[in-house]
Amino acid sequence: MSTLTDLRIAAVGDIHLGEDARGRYRRRLEGIEQRADVLLVAGDLTRHGTLEEGRVVADELRDLPVPVVTVLGNHDYHSDLQFEIASELRDAGVIVLDDDGVVLEIGESKLGVVGGKGFGGGYAGKCASEFGEREIKNFVSHTRFIAEAWKVALKEIVADHRVVLSHYSPIKETLEGEPPEIYPFLGSYLLAEAVDTVGADLILHGHAHRGTEKGITPGGIRVRNVALPVLGKPYAVYCMDGAC
């Protein structure tokens, strides 16, 4: 355990556990309490979003020695069982954010985590607009709704540190390595704009397996793409206020 307001945040996304991962993933997290105070998981917990896979994830994350906060990713929605999967995770003691926030007391430090799946649309100057066909308007308005919810949740959080946890990316810098043609399906600047408006210490996301770990929002907030293939290790650890 770190002291005062020091904080060590472990983070990973896109772990994509199938049923064959049962009993195998957890060993990657052995000793995590020696390295971090909390584990944040940035969505795509499953491969196909089945309830069986959701149960594997719940069992692999159950009773870890540090608190676990997660959001779901697009894979976790694939079988239309996202609510059931979230319920399994919550029953296992995992905090699942769905465009809302939580405050964790870690030692003498309060960590606020806000987030959800996020969504796409693209980045400023090269993005979709709420115009034309109903399908396009629905696509963009879904992201706007999420961004507004995050803004509200961030304003309500009273904590020493505030971290935003997303699956989709708020900036394009952490997508570098992905084909630019698919950026609109990997995230939206509306997410960054919302967080920049209120402020946070760090934004974590996944989704872009071929992307880049480090970036920064236009407002100066650090962004980290913690997709497992990007990290190349079981999780990253980010230290605040001199921790580590």
């Binding site: 210490d201 397996h209 497992l228 290790k233 079981p234 230290c239 580590c244």
Partner: protein
């Protein structure tokens, strides 16, 4: 004869939409009668399934499954200090 770009697109769609794989991040390239798969997945079983689904989608091509496994890494490396 189908243009190689359309064959690659068809294989990529299969990898994303087939319930055995549902993998979105694999690069698919067709050169002549050769089909190349590149990218990273977390375990060998998924790599094998991707190869199988790709072969079913384009059985006439010679498959090179160059997907790498990243999941079984235990070396934590350095922590990052955000100051």
């Amino acid at each position: 004869m189908e243009a190689p770009q359309y064959v690659a697109a068809r294989v990529q769609q299969a990898l994303a939409e087939d319930g055995r794989t549902n993998e979105l991040g694999i690069r698919v390239d067709v050169r002549g009668d050769q089909l190349f798969l590149r990218g990273q997945v977390s375990e060998a079983g998924q790599r094998d399934r991707l190869g199988l689904v790709a072969h079913e989608a384009a059985p006439e091509l010679h498959l090179h499954n160059e997907i790498t496994i990243v999941g079984d890494v235990f070396d934590q490396g350095e922590d990052e200090h955000l100051d």
